[in-house]
Subunit: 289 residues, 4 copies
């Protein structure tokens, strides 16, 4: 990787705008392609995709990088943009930062041998995004629940990255928090931290909770469990698709269940953009070291 | 006050429904008048206003109790309802719980000598509502702000009931909190609790904050101060009307300013209804003691 | 008050040493009198009392300033020191900062007309000291109690300056906290903050608590209440003398009761000294304004 | 394992007394051997070791179970006790719960084929003990440090079981916490949780901290690092022997360094005893399942 003095941002939503701003604050030149709907973005340079490809030392594609039709994900653009052969020549010798590499290469196999870095595959990316996800889950809970978090009884299913942060935030806001997990070590941590404990494997009923947050990507809330869940419970499903709740059955049983996906991008695009920057800059630092 | 075995709920919004449910959970008979738009509310008895007046031992009017046109505040009703002379006879010898007594008596001076209790005038009512207000303010902040509370820099102007709870909640969510107050004792408490301190009297500029919460019912954010406030600051005005922000000037200066009023009723009607119950039951207990 | 360029510290314990260091860090000259037991204190100037009186622009006496025999409170000195007429002439036209003015003037009535400031009488002094007092109470609890604070059940009697901070600290450390208070507004705040609530006036028994912290300077834990207190309860009495616990009866009933007085000076002399500086500097600022 | 109706406690310190009490509260018969110094312990049965061995369904040895001279660890006994052949016959067919199996079997190889369970080897034991260890570390800090935790600047080296809990507790008490760790995922978590971050591998100097807690069992604070550590820093070494601080060099450099070992047993014997019970009962439950 050569020294990078300028970054090109190829499409994306508000996250990419905040990413661009944050990189610009670090005194790099930044050009944005694929934002024609915007008239101006302060000091950031808006240009067409080809100019940006040509003039930037490194290119950053958004989350997700490409759409199902292989066009670049450019919600701020009026038209779809497809990388053509000219573009390939412009960028194939530059560092290219992308998300979900497999999909990207399926769309543009010609870039197989390019200097590709999948920032979305870094563990750091997942950990850092757990914070805006947990906060976004609380925003959803505040919006959907008719009482206050303070004084509520909540159950979090799963004690991974999101469960760890979400349990802490709910507790400090005054909720009485129970966490369900599987591994002995997780169960011990949950006890040591003062939460109520449930074993996910033995979750036969969910009674006495105002809100339930599912973080486990498996059908935990199937028909059996939903038949044994209080009607006045609000279930917020944070698990990636297909999710952990049978929404059909939930509806039949008059249980309020909502799906909350991609929270960082939706509820905290600024933080989400800054996380992309942090991860990319750490990749660059490691390559150079 | 005679022993109360049944309560009548005269109109109101979702808060009154949760209030009714909470009273019913305490094993009192509850009848609701002025909710024709609802088909059913579980085990609660919906009836017409006159039946409710006749059959209840005590009557509870909502917040606010009456509208400007003197009709009862019945958003769940298709028509306006005015207390007539027949009603007066039915309720004048029963305990009547109302909000904003002055307005109520202006509408119905015939009830001047009735057994009226203004629950909204109790200090306890204001203190208990500070909690859903503070949480509601955080909901507004999460919705409006594009970053996360965690890691943000926030300023709270005023250290009264709301400022005390809001500063605590923002801090435990990871914000770097500064509080502006006037009295020496408030300033000392703010310092002792580890917040940044500003003197409201010397607030000549507001720089370096992501979000500002105003709780002081005085025009703190006037032209002078707004001219010295960062453009990318989000101001959330919690002060009752006319509020503490010159929204016109804020808009001109491209400062995001939003008004957040009556938060408990809007964001946490369940908690708000339960607070009304708590205050009314404490009034009853005091009268009996 | 003339401009002050140098401060003289007249005796005192470790607090005064930290006070001196903190003032010195603000670039004032500082001389200490009454510390003969110390060989050196870094960059601070140790001298005899008279030199210090003569050469300082302002004099600071410790907490307490004088002993029962009228000598200056100089625990770091081998001999007692009494202010003589020569000293009076040296200091009577300078700002003198003292604690407990009444006792001081009883010892030295000749200074009645001097420029005396009682920093210990400032409300700010009491509020700021509530923090090290609350933390000191937790230190005592950790030392005396054989379990962890986390998971314990605690009762705090009194919701004044210390009760407010102590309840918060115990809760964030994982204790299940109940607070007893008298006024309706205090009781409402306690409820809003999510603590258990008891009315001090109706405290007929204390059952189910691991630890009790009394902050009320009245005999709350008298024979009647101690007869209805669990034997395995640890009572920590933070109230100033004569205190709030009948220690004789407690001992007879095999209740562990300990007195914890003057905690800031004992457990956090650095913080206590810095608080004295803060209060004195605020007094100076107000006089000049 | 046959059904257990009675437990025998073989020696140990206060932890074993609280363990015995806690088991007794669950309605098991409990007999204690090796506590001759005690006259009575409430409802617990004190007897000689042999009687206890004979009459109990399961035996629990303390932490550590045996001394270097192979005697049972019985600090509450006047004499040393060695398990003899008669005892072996009494206990070899019963479940025996011990700590540090290797040492135990070195002393009593005849029990090699007995039904031994090393509760101290369970991960759950280590995780649950992290809580009293973290709280004990704060007790040591409060005792040794002359300021308050609130407002202090602290560094925690290591983000394992203890580091995770200690960082949280220090932060909620108002300290400005920085954590040093090595793995990328730990560093990301530390950042996500809002602490200051340092990379342990790049720890060349420790400046600007009031207190440092070392949890890493490696000589982190060697001569090089101690030469670049502020003199007024308090270092609390929580790492098991040989520890992580060169105390000799620290002393020469006038850095306050203290060793804090076996904190749960020393500062929270009640909690430590209850943890032993929890782990043993979970072992029993798993065997039966």
């Amino acid at each position: 990787m050569k020294e990078i003095k300028s970054f090109g941002i190829a499409g994306g939503d508000k996250r990419q705008l905040f990413l661009a701003k944050s990189i610009s604050d670090n005194c790099y030149d930044v050009q944005l392609g694929g934002f024609e709907k915007l008239k101006s973005t302060g000091s950031l340079v808006l240009c067409d995709m080809k100019t940006m490809f040509a003039e930037s030392d490194a290119i950053i594609f958004p989350v997700p990088s490409v759409r199902a039709d292989h066009s670049i994900n450019t919600p701020f653009s009026y038209e779809s943009y497809y990388i053509d052969n000219e573009d390939i020549l412009l960028i194939k010798n530059k560092p290219i930062f992308i998300s979900m590499k497999e999909n990207f290469l399926r769309a543009y196999p010609q870039l197989q041998s390019a200097e590709l870095y999948d920032y979305s595959a870094e563990e750091e990316f997942a950990i850092l995004n757990a914070l805006p996800t947990a906060e976004g889950a609380i925003e959803v809970a505040m919006t959907e629940y008719e009482g206050t978090i303070s004084g509520s009884k909540t159950l979090i299913v799963g004690y991974g990255r999101i469960g760890k942060l979400l349990s802490n935030k709910l507790k400090v806001l005054g909720s009485e928090v129970t966490v369900a997990a599987r591994s002995k070590s997780d169960l011990a941590y949950i006890k040591a931290l003062g939460y109520g404990v449930r074993n996910t494997n033995q979750l036969k009923s969910v009674k006495g909770f105002d809100m339930v947050f599912n973080t486990v990507p498996a059908k935990i809330f199937d028909k059996d469990l939903l038949m044994n869940t209080d009607r006045n419970t609000l279930i917020i499903d944070l698990a990636s698709l297909p999710g952990g709740v049978d929404f059909e059955i939930a509806k039949q049983n008059k249980i309020d269940a909502v799906r909350a996906l991609s929270l960082p991008g939706k509820t905290s695009p600024k933080t989400a953009g800054e996380i992309i920057k942090t991860v990319i800059f750490n990749i660059i630092e490691e390559v150079y070291r």
